[in-house]
């Protein structure tokens, strides 16, 4: 893929180009994750569902029929519960693995102790529950829930690329884009074919492999009600 210049200004100050990695949620975000789609995270979600917390870790962008989770990797949802933003809290991780038959096993681990555990075939929509009933998990292919007009962003990139004489202010912001470019950008971002067509959801009709968890709040809030969440895939 050729290197495109986003802002090929006359000013030598700027040598901005567009990286050949998707401007998406986290799909195809780096070279290292492209070697194995099953460990390429696409999205992480979390919200309150009654007395439970819903947690989702999605992988395998543009998953084909028959795509499988890795049976060599760990899929981890990291949480830290605190009393308030900026205050140290208690870490609780949910670590999931798969065997070759795609049977899942998930451990809820905090402070070196396993708090709950669930294992089995979680591919039916009801998933499976731990013995305590506090952890419910589904694992399998789902519609990719991410939605974004990727083409519109690419059009915007192209229009900024075409602008000349662009310089930046003291904070690094390109502050003299031509008025024609600014007007084009406004149309680009929310449409297709440089604003002449309607926006297109690049992720429509696409699937991912999804780990969906519903976890009793008490397992995740021992340090307080504010929970910070991130996902990872690990060896």
């Amino acid at each position: 893929m050729k290197t495109k210049h986003l802002l090929r200004g006359a000013a030598a100050l700027l040598a901005i180009s567009v990286a050949p990695f998707a401007f998406a949620a986290d799909h195809l975000d780096a070279p290292g994750v492209k070697t194995d789609a099953s460990t390429d995270i696409t999205d992480v979600y979390t919200w309150n569902d009654g007395t439970n917390v819903a947690l989702i870790l999605n992988v395998s962008p543009l998953a084909a029929t028959g795509a499988k989770f890795s049976n060599a990797a760990k899929y981890v949802l990291h949480t830290e519960s605190t009393m308030k933003y900026g205050v140290a809290g208690t870490e609780t991780d949910i670590i999931c693995t798969f065997d070759a038959t795609q049977k899942i096993s998930c451990w809820v681990v905090s402070g070196g102790a396993t708090k709950d555990y669930v294992t089995g075939d979680a591919s039916a929509t009801a998933g499976i529950k731990s013995a305590s009933g506090k952890v419910q998990v589904f694992a399998g292919p789902r519609d990719d829930p991410f939605f974004f007009n990727l083409g519109g962003f690419k059009d915007a990139e192209a229009d900024v690329e075409a602008a000349t004489g662009v310089t930046t202010d003291a904070a690094g912001c390109p502050n003299n884009l031509p008025a024609s470019t600014v007007m084009a950008l406004d149309k680009d971002l929310g449409g297709s074919n440089h604003g002449t067509g309607a926006a297109v959801d690049f992720f429509a009709g696409k699937n991912v492999l999804s780990i969906v968890l519903s976890v009793d709040k008490t397992l995740l809030t021992s340090g307080g009600p504010l929970v910070a969440v991130w996902g990872s895939t690990n060896q």
Binding site: F23, G86, L189, K206, S210, L226
Partner: protein
């Protein structure tokens, strides 16, 4: 900055400084969370047997922090949790590694992009903000221009200077979704952080990230125009319908 729109954010300088400090404090607070204080529970008996897992009565109260079978507060014995190895990918908020890490420079060309792999493999959570905020600030500066106006990004610090994007860069480099489990209302992506930073402007919200949050419109708007709405990518909902009940996501195509 225009102020006629109620959604526009005018953050006093003192709050901007506050925001940065607590964002950094938050990111630096994660290193010592695990004290290895495993607590065995005395004389709990749970008479449940499921599948291959047999529950037992646990009577030890001095369970060491090891990787052997750990007892839970319910007295159940579980298989040993696996050891987590080197990190392959990580993600908290959407469009962070994709949009804020060498998104607009020649570092990443062809199939090469060492910094994006480094970001994914960086397990030193306590240093995330320190390590990645400077790079994020460079990308945030370019995204600020998408609406044709510089200096109107969320939490932009005036006057225009090399540090103008530092506050939001630090907050985003603490790359985690914040969920307030004590707040029933869940309507706003970034809601928990925003309510903490500027409570007068943003009502309490559980934040987190629900499936239907318009995260890309909010990201565009916040980074280009300093608002939570106003700059749309034209796609405001998923192609398939989500469900309110487990497993929430739509069936595969």
């Amino acid at each position: 900055m225009r102020t006629h729109n109620m959604k526009k954010i005018a953050v006093p300088a003192v709050l901007v400084g506050f925001g940065l400090s607590i964002a950094l404090a938050s990111a630096c607070s994660n290193g010592g969370g695990n004290g290895g204080a495993t607590t065995g529970t005395t004389s709990n008996t749970v008479g449940v047997t499921t599948g291959a897992m047999t529950t037992t009565s646990v009577t030890t109260s001095t369970n060491a922090a090891t990787t052997t079978n750990a007892s839970s507060s319910t007295g159940m014995m579980f298989p040993t949790a696996p050891t987590v190895g080197a990190e392959i990918d990580r993600m908290g908020r959407p469009a962070i590694n994709t949009a804020l890490n060498h998104a607009f420079d020649a570092t990443c060309t062809g199939t090469t992009c060492a910094p994006k792999d480094m970001y994914n493999q960086d397990t030193n959570e306590a240093m995330w903000a320190t390590k990645w905020a400077p790079e994020f600030a460079k990308n945030l500066a370019i995204l600020d221009a998408l609406d044709g106006t510089c200096g109107n990004q969320l939490f932009y610090a005036k006057p225009t200077a090399a540090t103008s994007y530092s506050t939001i860069a630090g907050a985003l480099a603490d790359d985690r979704l914040y969920l307030d489990t004590s707040t029933a209302t869940c309507t706003q992506y970034l809601g928990a952080e925003l309510h903490t930073l500027v409570p007068a402007t943003f009502p309490a919200d559980c934040g987190g990230r629900k499936l239907d949050y318009k995260v890309m419109d909010i990201t565009y708007s916040a980074l280009a125009a300093g608002a939570l709405t106003g700059v749309s990518n034209g796609i405001t909902m998923n192609d398939a319908t989500f469900t309110a009940t487990f497993p929430y996501e739509a069936a595969p195509h």
